[in-house]
């Protein structure tokens, strides 16, 4: 698969550079934009960003490996982010996480993001999603769900379109 940046994205990136006194400062925003467009950050993307910001690939690679939110591999089409910070942990987020993993046939003891073999679903723990009063909370892609019981989770999964 060749790595090509469409003109609209390139324009967006060029605009991002202008926000900062130094080109390098745009690295994180570049990574967000690239991940949003491509779904993950490939080695080609790292090379591209480094070239664009006059950096060495290792400078970008340090960021990609530091932040767990940057993915080096594609995630599933529906990505479940379960909050595990204190309120949600007390409110049953681990139970919810286990439930999701079992439902998708994933290992609940494994660290980090996991994706089903068919590439449809991904599950991962994240830190606080800022809704402590309605724990446990999770996100499915950009949608926010509060007070998620196992049954509620099942119905959210059922609503995910199969195509």
């Amino acid at each position: 698969m060749t790595f090509t940046v469409p003109p609209e994205l390139e324009a967006e990136l060029n605009e991002l550079v202008t926000h900062y006194p130094q080109k390098r400062s745009a690295s994180l925003m570049f990574l967000h934009a690239i991940q949003e467009h491509f779904g993950h950050i490939s080695p080609e993307a790292v090379d591209y960003i480094a070239r664009k910001l006059d950096l060495k690939p290792i400078n970008v690679w340090e960021l990609v490996t530091f932040y767990p939110m940057f993915r080096q591999h594609p995630a599933g089409r529906f990505q479940f982010k379960v909050c595990r910070t204190l309120s949600c942990a007390l409110g049953g987020s681990h139970k919810l996480y286990h439930h999701l993993c079992e439902k998708f046939g994933l290992d609940p003891h494994q660290h980090g993001l996991q994706t089903t073999a068919d590439g449809r679903f991904s599950v991962e723990f994240v830190e606080c999603l800022a809704s402590c009063g309605t724990a446990p909370v999770m996100m499915c892609n950009e949608e926010f769900h509060q007070g998620v019981s196992n049954e509620k989770a099942d119905s959210i999964i059922a609503q995910c379109p199969s195509k």
Partner: protein
Amino acid sequence: MSTATANDPKPAQPPVETLRIKIDGREVEVPKLMPDASGRLQPTTMLQACAVAGIEVPHYCYHPKLPVAGNCRMCLIEFGTPMIGPDRKPVLNEDGTPKIARSVLPYEPTTPRGAIACATPISPGMELYPGSAATRQMRESVLESLLINHPLDCPICDQAGECKLQEYSVEHGQATSRFVETKVHKPKQVDLGPRIMLDDERCVLCTRCIRFTRDIVGDDALGIVNRGSYNTIAAYPGAKFDNNYTLNTVDLCPVGALTSKDFRFQMRVWFMKETRSLCTGCATGCNILIGSREEKVLRYEPRQNDAVNACWMCDTGRLNYKWIGREDRLIEVRSFRSGARSWSGTLHEVAESLKTAAPGSVAIIASARQSNEELYLLKKLATHLGAVTDSIAREGEGDKLLVNEDRNPNSNGARLTGIAFTEMGIQVPKIADGIRAGRIRTLIVFGEDVTRHGIDAELLGKLQTLIVSDILPNETTRRAHYLLPGCAHAEKRGTFVNAKGRLQRFLKAVEPRGDARPEAEFLQELLADLGIAGGTASPTSFEGLFNQMAREIPAFAGLEWSRIGDLGVNVPI
């Protein structure tokens, strides 16, 4: 750190502004500003102030030649500053001395708060307590933290014996570990580049290697990936850490993380002898330490000389030592005329042959890889014989840091002793013509294979006498009538003059093998046989030879062997 030498010109400097501070109760006056890694004057740091007072503050990430990172925390020290009252006036003790407020945690005023000495500037009246109990406790805690994930397998670690972690553990460590959990395991035997092997578990993440290659070499090749206790030094996946200065990171690494593929596991460092010498790879003349054991050279390491190479040397120069121990070294003195196999017999034959040579029929090609002393003696010989002399230029690509385009270590020495002209090698074609025309009947060659420089084997065949001294066999040595095996620089003493005109000395690390002898020694004997002043049948001390040369060569006027020092002196070129 000091590089001042006897004859360095001292520029007129304005009086240095100083501050008075106290270090462990002792009043000390230190400069207000001191040079940082790039040489610019910056406010003096606590660490520099302690160094001025002769107190070493332990550290890992700090290095005087690298930008300050302040990440290892080992140099934490307790300190205090003069108290200022609400009226903005100093608060005084009953005896009239300023009251000192020790730095403490704001939310826990009984707990001392240290500052990292490498990055904290001093201020007037400040008190530093590098010897206090609190400072000691901070060091112990930092060291304990660094050792949490560090393998404790010193007996099989290549850094053992020159490891800062070991050294500070002796002073600040604890006999037992309180850590009961499983250590984090990180990649081992990482092939970082063609000359560097990395053990991430031993790394203390001081980032000296990263800063060196980024800020000194300009090859931003290394970084820290992952996070927390999984932090690892790495090159970009698929990329190699491969510039001509990578091996300096091995010297910089305070622990056993970065090791030289060439030297690792070759020798426990405490068995080695270290000899102050010079790199012969180019005209820069980097100061080095030769590590040797049982007459075998095992490694070169840079030796600090701020007037020449700071703390660095290039990889090419550092690995250019294997030829010294090559199996095919010339180790037999030979006269192929008479079959003599002794120095006295062969040298006498050479002398007799030179006595009968007609004036102007002798030419000498010496090498700019030879020492000043040898070239000086050869020039004396040339003057006596009326011989034309020259040397061979050796050019290569230079770089901005250390590598010089001139690949001879002593081109300026060859010029100053009168062996070669400014344009080195200009006489060689004339010598070739002279041999072709039969005018030149005797050729003396030292340390060069002239068949590769315009005097081919056929021309050598036309000579009546070919006298050759060299270290390794080549096409010229194979055609010699008299073969005089010489010494590598590691096997003798001498001086070179580098590209910038710095005269530096090198000392003897190992014994030469077989018949091989220092050239200056047998040249003195040859000169004595020929009745040339300055020659002596049994060589006088080497120091005497140097001092004699210094008296006769204007550029070396006033020099004495004992006054050159380890860092050399500047001579006019």
